[in-house]
Symmetry: C2
Subunit: 424 residues, 2 copies
């Protein structure tokens, strides 16, 4: 794998002995995962997904993508949670590969958002992708009602039918019924993969293929990670290393993990990570609180608290070796700001020094930290990263003795809301 995990700044917080001490737990969790005998094992379809997906299916997605790019100026993705954040994470990370603008709807209940979106779509050729297992989640269902109306007014019945594609359950649910009734093309959401683990299924793949991303490269990366993160050899398995470190830090009352990236293009991967980790671990009164920051911006807002506040957190830094674009810092005749010392360098070189300084300063201030370094912004890397995080959270979930694959708590507010809405 091309992803590196640096654990140097855990020294003094986690020792080899600590890892040794939980090896039996790790081995037990590993076996339960591999043999699919642990908690929630009905929802571990994602585990062997990368090596199961057939290249012919990926070719089919690529061909459909080409068709869409010929007849559309933009795509609207309707979805929320796992049917939103992974798609957006991929497209922001792979912005350079994107050939068609993608807008989002149904990811909130904002009248303003939907109003301005429809305004923007007025004079554009549009393809809509609707993603929902049930079709009865309020946000995407209501947005889809509004967008369906818009598309019906904009297009002939023939075009209307062609320009809406759904990703939903094979047999049941409202969106399946609507799909069959209207004759929309559709892709299947597998029953054994939960929403937050669906980024490498049609949910995460079809929309980005439509936008122009090479999904074969993404899956090639995920396959590599599947192979390398399946070994019980801790020295070789960075997913288990990351999981073990997180678990041990949590046991020392480090109850907040701050994932900080120095690259804006990683911001939505952070959002994806928040759902993956928060929803998998946060149950039965347990769970690390996942927070994300954008550095160096947020060093100038949260930096003081990270350096000297309550010592109840650890940090994971998120880096990219080759950022891709260079901006050279100009030399100035009179060195009034005293920065001629870095003139001639790429601004990203300064960014990387900021990372080194921050990791060191926070560590010395009592915040243990790790870093995850990616080689570059490409689909092959992103595929590895997704699988790495998925495998890691499965491991910490089992170490915490929770079921990392369910989400019983999300029903609570939904039930109350449906009651307020007068919905049966």
């Amino acid at each position: 794998m091309d992803i590196r995990l640096n654990k140097q700044n855990l020294k003094g917080f986690i020792g080899d002995n600590d890892i040794e001490g939980i090896m039996p737990n790790i081995e037990k969790a590993h076996n339960e995962l591999e043999q699919k005998t642990g908690k929630g094992c009905d929802f571990t379809g994602w585990l062997d997904l990368p090596n199961k997906i057939e290249d012919s299916f990926l070719d089919e997605l690529a061909a459909l993508g080409e068709e869409i790019r010929v007849n559309s100026d933009c795509i609207v993705c309707v979805g929320i949670g796992g049917s939103y954040v992974g798609i957006r994470a991929s497209l922001e990370f792979l912005i350079a590969d994107q050939k068609l603008p993608v807008y989002y709807a149904g990811q909130n209940l904002s009248s303003g958002h939907l109003h301005y979106l429809l305004e923007k779509l007025q004079d554009k050729r549009v393809t809509v992708i609707v993603i929902s297992k049930s079709g009865t989640t309020a946000e995407p269902a209501l947005a889809f009602r509004v967008i369906k109306q818009f598309m019906r007014e904009k297009y002939s019945p023939e075009e209307f039918k062609k320009r809406i594609i759904t990703i939903t359950d094979a047999q049941k649910g409202a969106l399946r019924q609507i799909t069959d009734k209207e004759g929309f093309r559709s892709f299947i959401i597998d029953g054994n993969v939960g929403g937050r683990f669906s980024v490498l299924t049609p949910v995460g793949l079809m929309p980005i293929a439509a936008a122009g991303v090479d999904v074969k490269q993404l899956i090639r990366g995920a396959r590599l990670a599947q192979d390398e993160c399946s070994t019980m050899d801790m020295d070789k398995n960075i997913a288990y290393q990351y999981a073990a470190a997180r678990y041990l830090l949590y046991k020392q009352d480090k109850v907040i993990e701050v994932l900080s990236t120095f690259y804006q293009r990683l911001s939505f991967v952070e959002e994806w990570w928040k759902q993956l980790f928060g929803e998998s671990e946060g149950k039965a009164g347990k769970g690390i609180f996942p927070a994300s920051l954008s550095f160096t911006t947020d060093l100038h807002s949260m930096g003081q608290l990270l350096q000297e506040g309550e010592r109840n957190m650890f940090e994971t830094f998120f880096l990219v070796e080759k950022s891709g674009i260079e901006v050279v810092i100009p030399q100035e005749e009179e060195d009034l700001d005293n920065f001629n010392c870095v003139a001639g360098n790429d601004l990203d070189w300064v960014n990387k020094q900021a990372y080194k300084a921050t990791a060191m300063a926070h560590y010395e201030g009592g915040v243990p930290n790790m870093s995850i370094t990616l080689p570059q912004f490409d689909a092959f890397t992103l595929g590895q990263l997704y699988y790495f995080f998925e495998k890691a959270v499965a491991m910490t979930g089992y170490l915490l003795e929770v079921n990392p694959f369910n989400q019983p708590g999300v029903e609570a507010y939904k039930n109350k809301m449906f009651a307020l809405l007068g919905r049966k």
Copy 2:
């Protein structure tokens, strides 16, 4: 004041007795603030700022704004921390009042961001506003080097001079020197107001006046809040109510405050809030960790953890009564998704039911919560809100027995970074 604070869902967590118990501390803090005798009192200039600002100065800002809007297609604001986040918070909140696009630079060390920004500016008439007390903070200083070069190539010496405006120290620092040497117009950063409290000074006012915001209305709102948040009558002072509740929750090991808004236009006010609270409280091993979420989007990512995870957090919901734009949910002939029950309603009505359901469900799940409700998105409301939060954090800082007006910890990484950069 038009802002309402609802504390209903603190019941069972905080009682009248708890408030009574800390009244002596609140009174002591109140007196220290009002008499400017407490910790960090040299930096409490913001306390009486709204009533001190002269209308003639606000007229001057408005006139300069008009001049800029005539000769420019956009504004670039160069700044970070308190010289960035408040400006952006105001402009996103007041998007409907904005008459000129505003771009940001110097808020990170991203080559990509700067590269694409310059590309965008190529064929536009540009005014640059540079905000830095010292002029030696790495991010804005380096961005300003690059942008100065760009502006020098784009414009005649006369235009160059006219199109750059600085906000900096009256006498000292690199940006003051550069300003005097080049003959830029400039505004003064007062010595007795820290960066995170500067949103109602020229730092926060001048750029938004240039973008077209009515800063008189903003200050009028702040004046109202200054009056109402200066009373020791707890029943009438919502800033002290909010502060007392936060302090008491923290004492019960609620170490994370999640500020969740149901309106995207409040997202950057959340960022501003994070700096204000994190930097003011996060010191001496103390401080509530401020996290922000965007609902309902994040209910589908962090909802599970909020409902059933570690019970170490409380929530503050951030609402707006009149959201401004209406999108009516269409009726459908066949009610396949079962949402005809809400057809004919504005989508925002559903959003508000989602809030009620969430507040109730999380409270029942063991997460105490409050809500802050604003009447609408206007400058008068925003001015009140800023002052309310500033006064509240000053109070909690004193209750926590820290100096809420300094930020000694931010030097740690800076010093290490300057060493790595070879800077004297």
